[in-house]
Symmetry: C2
Subunit: 319 residues, 2 copies
DNA sequence: ACGCGAGGATAGCCTGAACCTATCGAGACG
DNA sequence: CGTCTCGATAGGTTCAGGCTATCCTCGCGT
């Protein structure tokens, strides 16, 4: 077996044209180097140097080996370098999934912070319903996803860390004359704008209405988050949406539900059987740092509950 | 230190996505392979595989390493291959020097035989005076040279093997009315055509004339072999030349000198401190084979004496 | 000519690395 | 809930690569 050690020594001799000095350079005793060179020569079946007193020179075989040996060793360096860059977060990629409610507020800031800190890491964000994201995680198409935790918990093949809880509010056009706050059952009398299948919100809304004793009427259905909000703005109907999506939407009015209201838990999930990459771990840190900053600045948006998880709980399965 | 062994194992796992099967493929026990992979991972500072049951996959670091590792291993193969081709005489180069007298006859045939047998080996022939060739050998510009052995022997830094002895004859124009055979002293009365400095023949001729008691007159001087012969053809004078250069020259007449005549020894020389390459050794064999064939076929040209060296003597310093 | 110094090769020893077998332990599956 | 699969771990053995000491050859200076 040819070894990299042999090639290193070979190169040292080829460049110094001197066994003793090559040995010094390679931080090794001269006999060790001699022995390795001999080993390489017998392995390749040809002498690599002519050992004339004070005039070591490469044989044709040595000449042929020299450029290849150089390339091999430089490739080894490259390999080491590349991996180091990934580990050092100077390079890499995170494929992150998120529900639309989070993309709007939390995520934009967190991504901004992350990108400032680790500019070499490529960020790929997939926006979608929670079910879709879960499937993408399991299929290996995402590294991380911010998903809604359904009542029965996330898929057993996923590990999730709670991130925050959000309240659902009723979005409506300001033209609509709704009370300040009301129980869900009031919506019985209003047509609704409903999300397409795949959105966790669709199921949540339907179940909540049924629990309140009525079957909702749909004015429109099938849209993504943005479309739904525009339809509501246009007065087509009302919708149950996370409060986080409303700030900045002048054309919409948010009405909270009377207690207990409806809450959803958002968690950061990843596959249990694939340990998160260094980049994913870094993103997690930045995300929680950002949320902690909200708490510290007393700037937690209305309708959001930060789960007061201890760092220990957060670190679960993330070491 | 990263080792090639580790890369081989890494590649086996990356391709089989299975430690146990990779170990079988690498002809090694599974724990040995596992350990090596761990060693590589700790060396590079990052895990290379995600060990999910029945679903081994590359981490980003592994993905980054894969192409480089492939290239490194393929380069090692290339290196081995290249050296093997040189050793196997499928590739290579011989830089051979020869005096003009030998280029004409012996060498052409020998080169032809050699090229037929080893078509991959590049042949570079330098024609020149014996002194020039010796200098080129010492300077490392030639691998081998067929040179004239001067009375005091070749340069001590060179090793030479006797090849043949050749007689010098007097070349003259057929118009010139010379006796069948005569002592050198007869030339006292004829103007001579003389080689340029650097030709061993120049010194040899001068010394021979002086030994015979006269200083030769030059009709022309300074030419290479071919020019000298043409001048002689043109009747400008006579010249002492190796008999080997005359066959095929219709316009010239060769007159041998009365005993003892003048003999020169031709030898194959190479630097003592640089062992001949495989290609050079092969050439030597072909050359002597060719000369032996002359003897066997009783086709030794007139004026040539083959030295009946035993193979043992020939092999001196050539192992 | 002879001694000396330089420099690569050789000898002999020692440590650590790589291999082996045996076994553990955790997820998958009937 | 046993059983199977498959990677990790443990412990022992061998050998490769390193070291020091020494040799051998050649060139060089006296």
């Amino acid at each position: 077996m040819v070894t990299l050690q042999q090639l290193v020594y070979f190169l040292a001799v080829a460049e110094t044209r001197h066994f003793t000095r090559a040995a010094e350079r390679a931080r090794v005793a001269q006999p060790s180097l001699s022995k390795q060179i001999h080993g390489l020569e017998s392995e390749l079946g040809a002498p690599l140097f002519t050992r004339a007193r004070g005039n070591i020179a490469l044989t044709p075989a040595g000449e042929a080996l020299l450029p290849v040996a150089k390339r091999i060793l430089s490739d080894v360096d490259t390999a080491r370098q590349e991996v180091a860059e990934l580990v050092g977060l100077r390079r890499g990629r995170i494929r992150l999934g998120a529900t639309p409610s989070l993309c709007v507020g939390v995520l934009a800031d967190a991504l901004r912070m992350f990108h400032d800190r680790y500019p070499g890491i490529e960020l790929v964000v997939e926006e979608g319903g929670s079910r879709d994201l879960t499937a993408a995680l399991l299929g290996g198409d995402l590294d991380l996803a911010l998903v809604i935790v359904p009542p029965q918990g996330v898929d057993p093949a996923l590990t999730s860390t709670p991130v925050l809880g959000e309240h659902l509010v009723v979005a409506s056009s300001p033209d609509l004359d709704l009370p300040e706050s009301f129980p869900l059952a009031v919506l019985r009398d209003y047509p609704m704008v409903m999300f397409r299948r795949g959105y966790d919100l669709r199921e949540t809304t339907l179940q909540a209405c049924r629990a309140a004793g009525f079957e909702p009427r749909f004015a429109v259905e099938g849209g993504e988050m943005d479309a739904v909000l525009r339809f509501v703005e246009a007065g087509l109907g009302v919708a149950l949406v996370p409060s986080l999506v409303l700030p900045g939407r002048r054309g919409l009015r948010a009405t909270s539900l009377r207690a207990p209201g409806i809450r959803r838990k958002v968690a950061l999930a990843h596959r249990t059987d694939v340990p998160p990459t260094a980049a994913a771990r870094a993103f997690r840190s930045v995300l929680f740092e950002h949320l902690d900053a909200w708490v510290a600045a007393d700037a937690v948006p209305v309708g959001v509950e930060l789960t007061p998880e201890t760092p220990a709980v957060r670190a679960q399965s993330w070491t």
